[in-house]
């Protein structure tokens, strides 16, 4: 009987894993949950703190991922450009730091200081926010629109079409979406995909 235990465990793990393969989380148009997450300054940040803004750019990102690193500077620039327009960046690190030491709270504080982050960099310790949103990789962007206090999802996906070279970008997926949203137009491309690092689930 005991010899079947590993097999049963394996099948159970497979079951759990394939459940995660099914596309869950938000779709464009859904109302995003509020959260209260710890920021690198030890304070708590919630979406309701942004109720006077037009929206927010929620980006699931982290320290260790090469793709996230390549977008660091672009995320800083996005905040500089769009925070004043009413769309500030909220960065959230969903990774389990026991799997990636580089993604620990202390390392997040260090990186934000080095790079001069102008936006909150939050810890999703329970990973509940990432799971509810349906984030799978870093970086993974959710552009939210403030609908009278309710934040609805307006765009999900990539920042642009060239991770390697910001100067060679031809399609600015996120910026186009923000501009269309701000102009009261329909967001034409409201969902894109990109290669990224898997979120390190607990």
């Amino acid at each position: 009987m005991m010899k079947y235990v590993p097999v049963v465990l394996l099948v159970m793990t497979l079951g759990l894993m394939s459940a995660r393969d099914v596309a869950e989380g938000y779709q464009v148009g859904d109302v995003a949950m509020d959260f209260s997450l710890k920021n690198i300054d030890e304070g708590m940040v919630s979406l309701k703190d942004y109720s006077d803004k037009k929206g927010a750019i929620v980006i699931f990102t982290c320290n260790h991922c090469p793709y996230a690193k390549m977008y660091e500077q672009r995320i800083i620039e996005l905040d500089k450009k769009y925070a004043s327009m009413g769309y500030p960046v909220i960065a959230i690190n969903p990774n389990d730091p026991t799997q990636e030491a580089e993604d620990s709270f202390e390392e997040m504080q260090k990186r934000a200081k080095e790079k001069g982050y102008t936006f909150p960099y939050l810890v999703d310790g329970t990973q509940e926010v990432a799971k509810t949103y349906g984030a799978t990789r870093t970086p993974h962007v959710y552009l939210l629109k403030n609908d009278g206090g309710k934040f609805t999802v307006a765009y999900i996906g990539a920042i642009d079409d060239n991770h390697k070279d910001a100067k060679a970008v031809t399609k600015r997926y996120l910026e186009d979406a923000i501009q269309q949203l701000d102009a009261g137009k329909k967001v034409e491309t409201n969902f894109t995909k990109a290669i990224g690092c898997t979120i390190k689930w607990k």
Partner: protein, 201 residues
């Protein structure tokens, strides 16, 4: 290992017969006979040498990684084959990918009839890093490096349910297909291949 050893014995035996019989019976003077005995030893050692240093080559060594564009990969993906094909998307910097890599290598060595391809999403500027990594890990599965930027334009063409996170693996046989977007555990490749085979035609 017993098969290899058995093969080695046969080779030595073959060498002993083929190179020595002619040599031993040709010479009439003793010093030539001594020479032929010497030659016999040399040829035996030569075969032993070939055996020792060439046997590992039965398992083919990894060739340098080829850099490809999406179109090349798409051809590979749409090539229908009666045998199972496994395509794994990975990168040297992706920890879960590196963790599952030995399972692919193990399966590849045990099941040469299953076609395997590793698609590296490392950056093309760092192809040497990938080559060094593969040599160190003794990976013999063919590897290509996908050099693309606008991922959104082709991820759906590879697999509509793929979010873009790696590791991700496709199991194909004819029109049958299984896609997984997670780190595989030991024994899972075998299970997934069985699952693939059970899908009705």
């Amino acid at each position: 290992m017993p098969t290899k050893r058995h093969f080695g014995v046969l080779l030595k035996k073959y060498n002993f017969i083929s190179s020595s019989t002619a040599d031993v019976f040709l010479p009439e003077e003793s010093w030539i006979t001594l020479g032929s005995v010497f030659r016999l030893y040399v040829s035996m050692y030569r075969f032993l040498f070939i055996l020792l240093f060439n046997m590992p080559l039965v398992v083919q060594a990894q060739e340098a990684v080829t850099i490809v564009k999406f179109e090349d990969l798409h051809k590979e993906l749409s090539a229908q084959s009666d045998s199972a094909t496994v395509i794994n998307f990975w990168a040297t910097w992706c920890k879960p990918c590196v963790k599952e890599l030995p399972y692919f290598e193990e399966y590849h060595r045990a099941h040469p009839e299953v076609r395997m391809l590793l698609v590296s999403l490392d950056f093309s500027e760092e192809v040497e890093k990938v080559n060094t990594f593969l040599a160190k890990k003794k990976i013999t599965i063919p590897v290509v490096l996908l050099d693309e930027t606008d991922y959104n334009s082709f991820i759906d063409k590879i697999e509509p349910t793929w979010s873009g996170a790696i590791p991700a693996t496709i199991f194909l046989r004819g029109k049958k297909r299984i896609f997984v977007e997670h780190e595989l555990v030991e024994g899972e490749i075998d299970l997934l291949i069985q699952q693939l085979n059970r899908i009705p035609e």
